[in-house]
């Protein structure tokens, strides 16, 4: 019984952490550092720390150094809500993250009530910006935009019968639903629509079933590990059908998993990868990143978190304040253009990124991602 009280006392003592006067500008990052999505989170951390070092080397913002405050959302909503609350107690002026729409949503209201500006990176669910939240923005495009591009691509390539496969995550299903809705209007038949279980290894049963339906093309809206396996196993059962993926398949590991032979000819939609951008900023970033960590960044989503970070830095500079109202107003102001890693960034009043973001890529025989005209 005493134990319980002692525990409570210890909790009390530890909780009274000293709050020092702000000598730095703290920017919070919500990322999955543990759990199934840890690879995304750790890359987000690397990218943002690299960018922060560059900002600091260039003199910081408002005469102060930038400090990155990481918080692990564990990739699950409950932990994310706790992490968000903790971040609100750590004197941050704005937040980057999270990866995953449902994870973002768990903390969204907490930041809104604080209030803090939040710029999400891997959160494409349409509804996130449809709630009328004043301080929420995102650098990632929305499912409906990608769905539109996906449907147009399928139409442009002249496919008449399409199979749609997702993985029953919020993101992949959202994209699949958006696309299927549009395909109907275009007179394209969806001959197959189902969801695989992510994290498994053998998708032969699904491929065999899909093959039986005889589609002209397959749209897979899930993530690269499964996409890679699907491509590899598709080749093994001797099925030669074009595969098209969503932006979550944009990861160099896709080719490693599938093998060059199997990956060749795979199309996917994605915001442009930094390597392909004409902007010097992007080129410098890729070079710096590769120099520091040994390889180019793999996940487009992690790169988008870098864009979120840069947007906040620029907004604080532009607004000359760390006040939430002012940061948000600056970001949403018409005419604001931030020089980001994935090109110029501008936001509309809802907090969505404006402009054509999606490009079509194709994997060539050497396994490289080639931007399609």
């Amino acid at each position: 019984m005493l134990r319980k009280m002692m525990f409570a006392l210890v909790l009390l003592a530890l909780a009274v952490t000293p709050a020092l006067a702000a000598k730095t500008v703290k920017i919070g990052v919500m990322a999955p550092m543990t759990g199934s999505w840890a690879s995304e989170g750790q890359e987000m951390k690397q990218i943002i720390e690299l960018l922060a070092a560059e900002v600091n080397a260039a003199g910081g913002i408002l005469g102060k150094k930038v400090e990155v405050v990481m918080e692990d959302d564990g990739g699950d909503p409950r932990t994310a809500a706790l992490a968000a609350t903790r971040l609100t107690t750590r004197d941050v002026v704005a937040v980057v993250g999270n990866y995953g729409s449902s994870i973002t949503e768990a903390g969204q209201m907490i930041f809104d009530e604080e209030p803090l500006v939040q710029i999400a990176n891997g959160s494409t669910a349409v509804r996130l910006t449809e709630k009328g939240l004043k301080y929420f923005l995102r650098t990632s495009p929305r499912d409906d935009e990608q769905g539109r591009v996906a449907a147009q691509t399928l139409q442009a390539k002249g496919f008449k019968k399409v199979a749609v496969l997702h993985d029953n995550t919020s993101y992949a299903k959202g994209l699949a639903d958006e696309t299927m809705g549009l395909l109907k209007g275009m007179g394209i038949d969806v001959v197959f629509a189902d969801a695989l279980t992510p994290g498994e290894r053998d998708y032969s049963a699904i491929l065999t079933k899909m093959k039986g339906k005889g589609p002209d093309a397959v749209l897979f809206t899930g993530y690269y590990p499964e996409a890679g396996l699907l491509l590899k196993q598709k080749k093994q059962i001797g099925w030669n059908v074009p595969f098209i993926g969503g932006d979550a398949t944009n990861n160099p590991d896709l080719v490693k998993i599938a093998g060059k032979g199997a990956a060749e000819g795979f199309y996917f939609l994605s915001p442009p990868v930094p390597q392909d951008l004409p902007y010097p900023k992007a080129k410098k970033f890729v070079a710096d990143y590769s120099a520091k960590y040994g390889s180019a960044p793999g996940s487009i989503w992690a790169v988008l978190s870098g864009d979120g970070f840069l947007s906040i830095v620029e907004a604080i500079k532009g607004a000359e304040s760390t006040d939430t109202e002012k940061i948000a107003a600056f970001l949403k102001k018409k005419g604001t253009k931030i020089n980001g890693l994935t090109g110029p960034i501008a936001f509309n009043a809802k907090g969505d990124r404006v402009g054509e973001v999606y490009k079509v890529y194709k994997v060539d025989a050497s396994g490289a991602f080639v931007l399609q005209p």
Binding site: M1, L2, R3, K4, M5, F7, A8, L9, L11, L12, L14, A15, V16, T17, M33, T34, G35, A38, Q42, M70, E71, D72, D76, P77, R78, T79, A81, L82, A83, T85, R86, T88, T89, S101, S102, E105, A106, M109, E113, A125, R127, N168, T169, S170, K173, G174, A195
Partner: protein, 321 residues
């Protein structure tokens, strides 16, 4: 008995005073601990008292959460009003699901409950009956209103959740020291002897599941209103495992032990979050290590239950307990 009561009163008084010194984060941690305390106490009835291996408790938690969410978003029923309904629906689900599997023993029951939990989660993901919103879940759930006052700040939830915990502890102590509570003990100790002493073991098991499910369901409703959005990701197999771990580590069958277990298992990772900052990705590594060490050094859990004794009159006089 009195010492226990005093410690409880003191602890709850401390909790009630905690918003004075704790910041929002720690209050939210306490809220999380409170929710899991309710879940673990409810599983404790099934696992700790009745000795039925249930590793799918998140299923009932999910039933309650979705029930509250659907009632609230579709029929505008306030969360706190829907609380008893959620409890009843979850209890019905518990009794219904367990009816055919109740005769399974030990580990066979364990895997079947895991299966039930997974089937339910998959059903939720696949938007069963068009009610659950698929992988997106349900959003826009109202915050609870108490006497016309909207509960939304961490410390307000602290009082709501821990008030519910206090009520649960109070009722479950009564339950444990009742005819039903004893029946669960008999069942756990020796099913054949219990049946032979005239206890309807089949029905008792079902009741245990129903009570446990009812409380898990109400915890789900509280969770739904606290998060305002729920999705199947919150009700995975891991969630069931977590609740299971709390009960065993706390001291299977002991209410105080289970509460301590909730502090430890839910509090520890947040503790690590705050104090191993540099090693954020090693957080769960420490956690796993701590679990092993804890079990090795306290094999019965933190506070294993003791036998129940009655205060007896001197021989020949009347009994009073």
């Amino acid at each position: 008995m009195n010492r226990t009561l005093i410690s409880y009163l003191l602890s709850f008084a401390l909790l009630a005073a905690s918003p004075l010194v704790l910041n929002r984060f720690w209050l939210e941690v306490l809220n999380s601990v409170g929710l899991y305390a309710i879940l673990a106490l409810s599983l404790n009835v099934i696992l700790g008292n009745a000795g039925l291996y249930n590793m799918g408790h998140a299923a009932f938690y999910a039933v309650g959460a979705y029930c509250a969410a659907i009632l609230n978003t579709q029929l505008d029923i306030p969360i706190l009003w829907s609380l008893p309904i959620c409890g009843l629906v979850a209890a019905a689900a518990g009794a219904l699901v367990c009816r055919p599997i109740i005769h399974l023993r030990g580990d066979y029951l364990l895997i079947v409950t895991v299966g039930v939990g997974e089937i339910l989660r998959i059903a939720l993901v696949n938007d069963i009956f068009g009610l659950t919103g698929g992988p997106n879940g349900i959003f826009g759930i109202d915050r609870p209103f108490l006497f016309g006052y909207k509960i939304r700040k961490p410390h307000e939830f602290l009082y709501l959740i821990w008030g519910f915990v206090a009520m649960t502890v109070f009722l479950f102590y009564r339950l444990r020291n009742s005819r039903f509570g004893r029946a669960l003990d008999y069942l756990r100790e020796d099913e054949v002897a219990a049946e032979g002493s005239g206890i309807n073991t089949g029905r008792t098991k079902l009741m245990a599941f129903a009570i446990g499910a009812a409380w898990a369901g109400m915890a789900g409703a509280l969770y739904a209103s606290k998060m305002t959005i729920i999705s199947p990701e919150s009700f995975t197999f891991w969630e069931s495992v977590l609740i299971f771990i709390i009960v065993i580590i706390g001291g299977s069958g002991n209410i105080t032990g289970v509460l301590l277990g909730a502090f430890l298992i839910i509090g520890l990772p947040e503790f690590l979050r705050a104090y191993v900052g540099e090693f954020a990705n090693a957080r769960m590594w420490f956690f796993g290590l701590a679990m092993m060490i804890m079990m090795i050094f306290r094999t019965q859990g933190i506070l294993p239950p003791g036998p129940r004794f009655f205060r007896l009159p001197k021989a020949g006089k009347e009994v009073s307990s």
